[in-house]
Symmetry: C2
Subunit: 388 residues, 2 copies
C-alpha cells in the first residue's frame, strides 16, 4: 500500500499517453476505462467479473447513493469499498450531473443546489461542502468537485454563468477537501459548453486553484463527435501534462480511440453495461444486436477470440473454470434476449465490459509501442469489414 | 461414461433412502434436489454456479422450450446440454403441467392436448408421442410421460378420468420411447388427486407398464402438507424399491425433510430461484425477507457458515476466488433489493440454491448415518430458534 495519490507518465505517442495512477488501494493503468457502478453495483455483474475483465477502478454515483442507502449509512457500514465488496480504487462523481438529469424541482443558488429525490420526493441539499463530505463518507479514492451541469443547448451567457459558478464551487470543494484523509484525490471539472474561450478560462482557473487531476465535463450530451473532440483539443492546451485528464461520460469505442489520441487518460460510460441489458454487444467485430433474427440459429460465439475474463491477478485454475462469454452461442444469447432472461443481460454486460477493457489493453500497448494510429486504424477496420 | 441408466440403493434409514442414479452424463446423488431451468436457464444464475453449489441435475420445461426457441432448433444446435452449457444430467418435464397452468384455450382429447401459446397465441399440439419426440430432440437424460394435470379441487370422477387417460398416455409414451437412444430414461407419473384408491390404481398400472422411475404428480398445488404427505405414503406402498421416486414440484425445505423420510429420492421446485428474485432468502436459520427494514444496517452476512459454492469438482483456487454469498452484508443485499438491482436477485438466487443443496448434502449424510430423524429435528429447530 502506498500512501499517496500520484500519477506517472510512462510513455507517449503523439498527444496520447501511457501512464499509471497510484492510489492507496492500488494502481490504475491509463488510459483507463471505468465501468459505472451507479448504485454500488455494476448492473448485472459480479464485481469479481468486473475485476477479472481488467478493470482497475469503477465509478459510483454520489446522487444515487446519497438518496439510497445514504452516505452516512454506508460510512457506518465501513465505507463503499467494503459495502459493495470492491477493495480497489473507486471514483465518485459529485452528484451535479445527475441532479440535472434525474432530480425534480432543482433550484441552483450560489450556496449549492436543492432538489427533490426522484425516488420519493424527499428534499435534499447539495453544496460543494456537502458533496465533498458525502464522497469522503463513501471513502472515494478520487472525488469530483461539484459543478453545475446545464441542459444544452443553452445561451452562451448562461453557459458562462454556470461555468463561473462551478469555478467558485471548485474553490470551496478544494477547501473542504483539506479535511479529507491523505492519499485521496480531488479532480476539478472543466465546463464551458462548446465555446473554446469559456473552456480555456475554466481550465486555466482550475489549474490555478490546483487539483490532483482534471476532468472535462458537459460533453457526450448529444453533440457530434467532431464538436466533442474539438472541445477536448481546445481544453487540452490549458491542462498540465503531469496530471491525469478524465473525459466524463464518454463513450463509444470509437470515441475512446479518438480521445486517447488527443491526450485523455480516463473515461467512464454506461454504454457497455446499459447496452448489455438491451441485447447489444460490443465486440472486436463491431456492434451486434443479438435480438436480430439472423442470430437465432447461429452456433458461433459472439467473438471466438475473446479472452473474457482477461487475466490479471487471477489464478489459471480460476480462469479455466470460469465460464467465458465466448462459451455461449449467439443462438443461445438470442434466445435469452427474446425471453427477457436475466442471464442474457448478465452475459452481454460481462462480454461488453470485457471488450471495453480488452480495447483499453490494446490502446495501452499501442501507445507504449508508439503505434496508436495504426492500432486505431486496424481496430476501426475490423469493426466494419469483418463478417459478423 | 457409462452407457446405461441405472439406480443403486446405497443405504436406508427407515423409509428414507440414500442412492445414486447413473446416467451417461454423470451421477445423481439421491435424495436429489433439481433446480429449475425453465427456459434453458436457471434464472439469474450462471450454470457454473448452479453446479458449484452441488447440483447434479437440473430440470428444463418442455412447454417453454417447444414454444421458444423450439425443440427442432435446439436439436439443430446440438441439443439442450450444449445449448445451455450444462454437460451434466437434465430432466425434462413433459409439458403437461404447464399446458394446464399457462396455455390458453386448452382442449384435451384421447389423442392429446391442443393449446394456444401464452407468448403469441400460436396453436400447438402435444400428444404422448410428440412429448417424447420433443424431449428426445432436447436430449433429456430423464424424460417424463405426458399426463393430464387437472386444476384442483375437481370432482373425483373427473380426477379418475384424467388419471386413466394419463395411464393410456403412459403406455403410448413408453412405446414412443423405444425409438430413443439407449442410456436415457423415462419416468411414469402417478396421478389421482388426493384419493388413495385412485393413487394406488395409477401407481400399480404404471408399474405394470414398467418405467425407469416413478414420479408423483399433481401435488404441491396448494393442499396442506399433511394431505400431501399422506398421499405420498399411500403411493409409496405400490412403488418398487429398486426404482427412483420423484415428487414433482416440491417444495419448501420442510417438505423435503418430510418427503425424504417417506422414501422420496428426487425433487424439483422453483422456490429457491423464485424466492431469490423476490428478496426472500432460505438459510440454515430459516427464511429471511431481506427487504425488511431491520436488515438495512446489519453488517452480518445472510449466513456466516454458508460454504456456497459447495466444493465438488472445482479446484480450491476456483473456490477461493469465487465470491460467496456470505461475503455480502445483509445491509448490502437489502440495498440491492430496495433498488431492484439485478445483483440482488443474482446473489439471493445463488445463496438459495446453495442452501437447498447444502440441505440435501446434510440429508444424504444423515440417511447414510441412519440419523435422519435427529438431523430433521436439529434442522427444524435451527430454522425457528436462532436469532436471525
Amino acid at each position: 500500500m502506498q500512501d499517496a495519490f500520484s500519477f506517472r507518465l510512462i510513455s507517449a505517442d503523439g498527444a496520447a499517453r501511457r501512464g499509471e495512477i497510484s492510489t492507496p488501494r492500488g494502481a490504475i493503468r491509463t488510459p483507463a476505462f471505468m465501468p459505472v457502478g451507479t448504485a454500488a453495483t455494476v448492473k448485472a455483474m459480479f464485481l469479481d467479473s468486473v475485476r477479472a475483465a481488467g478493470s482497475d477502478v469503477v465509478l459510483a454515483n454520489t446522487y444515487h447513493l446519497m438518496l439510497r442507502p445514504g452516505a452516512e449509512r454506508i460510512a457506518a457500514l465501513g465505507g463503499l469499498h467494503k459495502f459493495m465488496r470492491w477493495p480497489h480504487p473507486i471514483l465518485t462523481d459529485s452528484g451535479g450531473y445527475q441532479v440535472m438529469s434525474l432530480a425534480k424541482l432543482r433550484k441552483v443558488s450560489e450556496q449549492g443546489v436543492t432538489f427533490r429525490s426522484h425516488l420519493d420526493g424527499a428534499m435534499f441539499e447539495l453544496s460543494p461542502e456537502r458533496a465533498i463530505e458525502i464522497q469522503n463518507l463513501l471513502g472515494a479514492d478520487i472525488a469530483m468537485q461539484l459543478d453545475e451541469c446545464l441542459r444544452l443547448p443553452a445561451p452562451e451567457a448562461e453557459v458562462a454563468r454556470a461555468m463561473r459558478l462551478s469555478l467558485r464551487w471548485a474553490e470551496r470543494c478544494k477547501r473542504a477537501f483539506e479535511a479529507v484523509p491523505p492519499g485521496r484525490a480531488l479532480f476539478g471539472i472543466v465546463q464551458g459548453g462548446v465555446a473554446p474561450t469559456l473552456r480555456s478560462e475554466s481550465a486555466r482557473e482550475l489549474v490555478r486553484i490546483g487539483f490532483h487531476g482534471y476532468a472535462i465535463g458537459g460533453l457526450a450530451v448529444g453533440e457530434p463527435q467532431d464538436v466533442m473532440l474539438a472541445t477536448v483539443e481546445e481544453t487540452m492546451i490549458e491542462l498540465p501534462a503531469e496530471k491525469p485528464r478524465y473525459l466524463m461520460g464518454v463513450g463509444e469505442p470509437d470515441d475512446l480511440l479518438a480521445a486517447v489520441a488527443r491526450g485523455i487518460d480516463m473515461f467512464d460510460c454506461v454504454l457497455p453495461t446499459r447496452a448489455g441489458r438491451h441485447a447489444l454487444a460490443y465486440t472486436r467485430n463491431g456492434k451486434i444486436n443479438i435480438r436480430n433474427a439472423r442470430h437465432a440459429e447461429d452456433p458461433r460465439p459472439l467473438d471466438e477470440s475473446s479472452d473474457c475474463p482477461a487475466a490479471r491477478d487471477y489464478s489459471r485454475a480460476y480462469l479455466h473454470h470460469l465460464a467465458k462469454a465466448r462459451d455461449y452461442s449467439r443462438a443461445y444469447l438470442h434466445h435469452l434476449a427474446k425471453a427477457n432472461e436475466m442471464l442474457g443481460a448478465m452475459l452481454l454486460t460481462w462480454a461488453n465490459v470485457a471488450y471495453y477493457q480488452q480495447l483499453m489493453d490494446g490502446i495501452r500497448a499501442a501507445v507504449a509501442a508508439r503505434r496508436l494510429k495504426d492500432f486505431a486504424a486496424e481496430t476501426r477496420a475490423r469493426w466494419t469489414q469483418e463478417p459478423r
